[in-house]
Symmetry: C2
Subunit: 171 residues, 2 copies
């Protein structure tokens, strides 16, 4: 299945497959005009997203705010979880029933200060897919240097978090 | 020393003591007009900050974006570290040489979905002060219910991260 996202003229990101009523996330929802709208893709067995922080995403002058780094790792992790979930079920991404994950836990190690003003690469590796849970390891790099490493434990969204007009079945 | 911030007419937050050239953090810098500008205070032996997310800080409808939760825990943790650092040295907050911390690692466990539309309380407890490192435990609550718990390992800012026109001594 891999590589299917890159064959079309328009390359769809993982997040383009989120159902519209679950596509408002500040980090990665395509329908959040104020948000980061990060977009994640398969790259072989790894996943990748790219993001250029704004000048105001600053920690101390010259360096990227750690909360943004955590946010990028978080959302790339839940996107990676969805992609891995579909792959584990042998299903096309976005097919019914939709899969959507939320974060159960997030760990970030800040290894080096992350320079502001350049595009960051966020690269994921699926560590475990087990039942409703996916664990991924994420590395965030600037100009080829890994500045932060994270681990995201994602779980399929609990039915209690679904919008009330949605079918109460698990998605 | 404790309680000194609450005696004046204007209550100063930890972050009000950050030197101006290190006060641009998107999460907690008083000079970042686009940022969250969170403000932290002592409350006995604990530290506390309050923050009401904006409607666009959404994860899925009705719930707060996990990246914002991580950001609040992160910045309240580094603020708590600074306050604890001064207290451990028996010094008044903001006195020279200034103390300023950055995050070495951040861990967040998302225990329950965090409701959007209410003020959140972020409460810290200093776990360890050792040399240039401070470890704090942070709980984030909504309406009295703990929704997330975090641990922040903060270290005094490395001199390489200081603005170039600043004295190269450790702060």
């Amino acid at each position: 299945m891999r590589g299917e996202e890159s064959r079309g003229v328009e390359k769809l990101a993982f997040q383009d497959h989120y159902p519209d009523d679950l596509a408002h996330c500040f980090g990665c929802g395509k329908l959040n005009e104020r948000g980061h709208r990060i977009r994640s893709f398969w790259d072989g067995d790894e996943t990748v997203a790219r993001f250029k922080p704004e000048p105001y995403h600053v920690a101390v002058p010259g360096y990227v705010y750690g909360g943004l780094i955590a946010s990028l790792i978080d959302c790339h992790g839940t996107g990676t979880a969805m992609a891995a979930g579909y792959r584990a079920e042998g299903r096309e991404m976005g097919s019914d029933p939709p899969l959507r994950y939320v974060t159960a836990s997030l760990k970030v190690d800040y290894l080096k200060p992350t320079p502001l003003g350049v595009e960051l690469e966020i690269r994921g590796r699926v560590k475990e897919v087990k039942g409703r849970k996916v664990v991924s390891e994420i590395a965030l790099s600037a100009e080829g240097v890994v500045c932060a490493r994270g681990e995201v434990v994602a779980v399929q969204i609990p039915s209690a978090m679904l919008p009330p007009d949605r079918e109460p079945r698990p998605i």
